[in-house]
Structure formats: C-alpha cells, structure tokens
Amino acid sequence: MKVSKEARHIARSLYRDSLTDGRLDETKVRTIVNGLGAAKPRELIPILKTYERLVRLEIERNTARVESAAALDTAMQQQITAQLQQIYRRPIAAEFGVNPELIGGVRVRVGSDVWDGSVANRLRELSAAL
C-alpha cells in the first residue's frame, strides 16, 4: 500500500509520543489508537498501518522468541532470559516455544538478531560446507 510522506511523518511522531523513557508505554499506545479511531483523520489506515509496524518492530526488539526441540525447564528458561538481558543491557521479555523441526538445540531471535544453535541449522551449515 502506498503511504504518503505526511502519513509516515504523523505515524512516526505518534510513535515517539508513545515512548516513556525510551520504552514503549502500553497505556499511551492504547490512548493513541483509540484517539485516532475517534478522530478519524485523513489517511487513517496508512497512519495506523505505519504506526502498527513501528510498534511491532519495537516489541520484537524487546522480545526474545526462544524455540527449542523439546520444552525447556524453568531453570533453563530463567538462565536464557538472564543471559539475554546481560547481552542487551535492557529488559527482554522471553517467549518460549517448541519447534520439533529444530531436531535439537535452541534458536533465539531478538529483533533481527538470531542465535541458531539448533541441530537443523548445523546440518544445513555442514551440507553447505560440503
């Protein structure tokens, strides 16, 4: 969808307004979305789509998606979360999931950073190297 410069500009300034101390504030986001819905400005949909994308990318940046072949125990989960916070030096919310396609090991994705320690990835690397 074509998003005009103005819509992009508005979405960006709304996004900036939804931050408190550099972090996304859920209450502010809700207020902005409700306010937009009520005010119905021109180009409401492009503004909302761009705003949604900026918010989504920010959430992804602060959320770790941890996938493993088998479910991880609580101790391991805590260890991974602590380690991620140490690397990024900011609070990182972790979501844990099970993906049998990994065969073994863990794959962690934070924003666009990926640590892939899965067996599936190693096999892929090995086949590429051979």
Partner: protein, 510 residues
C-alpha cells in the same frame, strides 16, 4: 580415504563451533528483481544478502525499518515472508589469468560451456580507485592498429578514451580491432621470446546487447586468435537489470587484478548508455528519487567511480595499468545529451564517429575535428610523432578548404595542392575492419604521404598503391621495418633508408 575422513571431521569441528549471532530479515515485498526486507538491522551498504538456495542479493538501500536489495539471479524463487540473512561479505568475482579465453557473466560464472573457471582469487566488484600517490602519468602507448587513431588520437596505457557515435557507426569495431591488434602483438612477442614487450590483456564487457551480437564478437575474436588474451563479460539484454548494472564493475575488478600484479590490461565497456539505462531501472524500482531524464542523482558517480578505476600505477605500486575504452551511443549525433556529456567530462578524450562519414565510405568514420586525446600524445611512439605531428592540422585545414572550394573554381596552386594532399590523407586513413596495421608500417606509409610520394597517384588508385606498398615494406624491407620498430624514432639514416625503399617501390608501381 583417510584424508577424506579427516576433511569431513574438520568440517564437523568447524560446524560444531560456538553459536554465532546472525542478522536476519523477512522479505516483505519482491518484484522486478528487487526485494524490500524488514529487519536486517546490521546490514551494510553493498553487502551480500543470503536468501538461501544459492540466491544472493545486494543491499543497496538502507532505510529506517527496511532494506532494499537487488537480487542476483532468479528472483522468482523468493517468496514474501522468506527469511534472509546478512553475510558480512561484499560481492566478489573470480579474477586472474584463468579467465583469459573465457566468456563469463557479471558474477564470473562461465557461459561458454568450457567447464568451471580456474581461479583461486576473488576481487570485490566495487573497489575504491587507486589514489594519487599510487599513480603516475601515462607514458606507454596502446597500439590500436587503426591508423587514424594511432596517428591523430593516440591512446596511452592507463588512459580512458571514450568511443562515441550513433548506432552502427563502427564503435564496437574500434574496440574489437584494438583487441585483435593486442593479441597480434602479444603473440609476436611470445613467439620471439621478447621479455621487454609488456603484453596487454583485454576485457570486453557487453552490457545490454543482443545475444547474437555478443556471439558474433566472440566468434570474430576466436577467428582472429584473440581469445587467449581476452576475457568477455556478458550481460545481455535478456539478463536482469541488476546483472547489467554489475557487469562493468565485475569487468573492472578482473582488469584491476592485472594492474595490481604489474601487468597491463585494456577494458572495453560496450556500452555505458545501456548501463545507465539498467541503473535507472534498478533505481526506479528501488524507489530512489529520480532526476533529469528519470536517471537517479548518482548516475554521474556511477560512471566516474567506474572509470576512475583505470589508472597507470607507479613503479612502487607495481607499474601495472588499466586502460578503459568506454563506448557511448548517441541519438542522432546529439553529444549534448545527459549521459554522453557526463562520460565525455569523465574521460581523457573521445573518438567521435559520424554517420555521414560512415556512409561516405570513410571508415573508420572518425571525425577528426571533434575527436581528441588529452593525455595520449605523451605516450605516442616518437617515430609516429615525427610523421603524424602535422597530419591532424593538415586534415583540419583540408576540411576548411574543401568547404570553401565548393564556392569557387579558380583556386591558386597552393590551395589546390593542399586539397589534393588532404584527399590523399583521408584515403590513406581508410581501413577495413579486423585488419590492424602494425605501427612500423603506419610510420612508413605516413612518412610517404607527408613527403609527397603519393601526390602523383590518383585518389581512386591510392588504396591499391598503399596496399602494395604495405606488402613491399613488410616482405621486401622487413629489416627496415624491424629497425623502425626497435629504434622507435626516425633518425637521418633511417629516413634515408626509408626514402630509398619508397623511391624503389614507386619506380616499380604500376
């Protein structure tokens, strides 16, 4: 067998190493060979992006939340939502002598069915040109074998000389003739075991041309025995705009290898008009702001950074050189269009070809008045300088007089003589394609013209006389020709010998 097991174990050990951080992104849009990727926060400009299944892209646009990448190869296999990753590498092509005699595409993959390219060195396609400290001025000639060029618009090793003209005026032919002449010189030096001759390797880059044209060029080079000293980089009209955009840079990288290793290379970009069009397409699809004639703002930089890579290096830097002959196709002779003026201002001179001259039968159709070589005369062989020094002026004078003579029939004897001499000079410079003339023969013929030996030969018989004289000089007076080639200058003794030879020939010529 044990070795193979060891190798596999090494690979396993390599794969076992600690988990490295990767930077990934998700394809949001794909079309026209361009992908918009969300994520890839660590992507660098011109970095290769791995889409899996041996499909790579190059990051050209780094935006706030997106990366715009051009796809190398088949982009239809890439789907929306696919994951891709950064590689930390720049696009590189194989370089080295293993490519000589091969036809490759813009990423160095063979197209000639002669098996894989033998090369263990890779060069990045985009490279910053050598700086001023590493350079020296042009001092060695590139013998094109085309009399009009070697005499009046001399080209030196490391020079950038533009070949410009309308469609079908013989632009490519000048490039091909030059390649053929280099092959002839290289082979002669190899056979004579002469180590003092620096071979000149050639790279022909075909951009956006019909495949049939490319095949024809390759066939000509093969027939003339020039392929062993030539690399052909082909991005035909059927290739994607991405490949057409990258082809000259890939060719330049191959040429730079020769230059960096103390050798000389010549690169022909055929042609940069189509290259600019391909780059315009890529830029528009990437939604970059467009400027004049919808070309992006950096179309000048595109060509300047490419042509700046040709240089003559100092002895400290290896003494190599890369000479560039870019070709530009004009529309109806308009040299003041956007791309032609850009490239004219970047290069060290131009060879301007005119349609009118071509159809008058003056081939190569070089317009002497508009063609110029800004640095080449420093590299011209001294013997050539001695005989051709005044020719450009005489020819210009002839054109002026010829225009004037149309209005009056009563001309004084001096003007008549100038006109007659001019006609003969024009005739002498006519040359069939793929038929380069050795420099020593050029010197002999031009000396004869300068000293009035052709004045009593009628213009329509002059070509015949010139051909017979060339035969005579190469077969009967080969020792004299060898002397001229060796001495590279005409001293009194040589002039006397040349005079005797030409007089002897004239006595026998019927």
């Amino acid at each position: 067998m044990a070795n193979i097991l060891q190798e596999i174990e090494q690979q396993i050990a390599g794969a076992k190493r600690g988990v490295a951080k990767q930077n990934v992104g998700t394809v949001r849009e794909i079309g026209d060979g361009v992908a918009k990727i969300e994520g890839l926060t660590d992507a660098m400009l011109n970095e290769m992006i791995d889409f899996g299944n041996d499909i790579y892209g190059i990051a050209l646009n780094l935006e706030e939340t997106e990366v715009g990448a051009i796809i190398l190869g088949e982009y239809t296999h890439i789907k929306e939502g696919m994951e891709c990753r950064t590689t930390g590498r720049l696009l590189s092509v194989p370089v080295g002598k293993g490519l000589l005699g091969r036809v490759v595409n813009s990423i160095g993959m063979p197209l000639d069915g002669k098996g894989p390219v033998k090369s263990d060195t890779l060069y990045p396609v985009e490279k910053i040109a050598p700086g001023i400290i590493k350079r020296r001025s042009v001092s060695q000639p590139v013998q094109t074998g085309i009399m009009a060029v070697d005499a009046m618009i001399p080209i030196g090793r490391g020079q950038r000389e533009l070949i410009i003209g309308d469609r079908s005026t013989g632009k490519t032919t000048i490039g091909i003739d030059t390649i053929i002449n280099q092959a002839r010189l290289n082979r002669a030096a190899e056979q004579a075991g002469d180590k003092s001759v620096r071979p000149l390797y050639c790279i022909y880059v075909a951009i956006g041309q019909k495949q049939s044209n490319i095949v024809r060029v390759v066939n000509v080079l093969e027939e003339q025995g020039a392929m062993p000293y030539t690399i052909v980089v082909a991005a035909s009209a059927a290739d994607t705009a991405t490949n057409q955009y990258l082809a000259p840079f890939a060719g330049a990288a191959m040429g730079e290898w020769f230059m960096d290793n103390g050798m000389d290379a010549l690169i022909i970009f055929d042609d940069l008009s189509k290259h600019a069009v391909a780059y315009r397409q890529v830029s528009l699809v990437l939604r970059r702001p467009s400027g004049r004639e919808a070309y992006p703002g950096d179309v000048f930089y595109l060509h300047s950074r490419l042509l700046e890579r040709s240089a003559r290096l100092s002895e400290k830097a290896g003494d190599g050189s890369l000479t560039a002959l870019p070709i530009i196709e004009t529309q109806l002779g308009d040299v003041s269009a956007y791309i032609p003026t850009n490239v004219i201002s970047i290069t060290d001179g131009q060879i301007y070809l005119e349609t009118d001259l071509f159809y008058q039968g003056i081939r190569p159709a070089i317009s002497v008045g508009l063609s110029v070589s800004r640095v080449g005369s420093a590299a011209q062989v001294k013997a050539m300088k001695q005989v051709a020094g005044r020719i450009k002026g005489e020819l210009a004078q002839f054109r002026e007089l010829a225009a004037f003579a149309q209005f009056g029939s009563d001309l004084d004897a001096k003007t008549q003589a100038q006109l007659e001499r001019g006609k003969r000079i024009v005739e002498v410079f006519k040359q069939p394609q793929y038929n380069p003339v050795p420099v020593e023969v050029q010197v002999g013929v031009l000396w004869a013209v300068q000293n009035g030996f052709f004045d009593d030969v009628s213009v329509d018989k002059l070509k015949d006389c010139q051909a017979k004289m060339t035969d005579y000089l190469t077969s009967r007076k080969s020792a004299l020709m060898a002397k001229i080639l060796k001495e590279k200058a005409l001293n009194d003794a040589l002039i006397a010998e040349l005079k005797a030879a030409v007089t002897e020939f004239k006595q026998t010529y019927r």
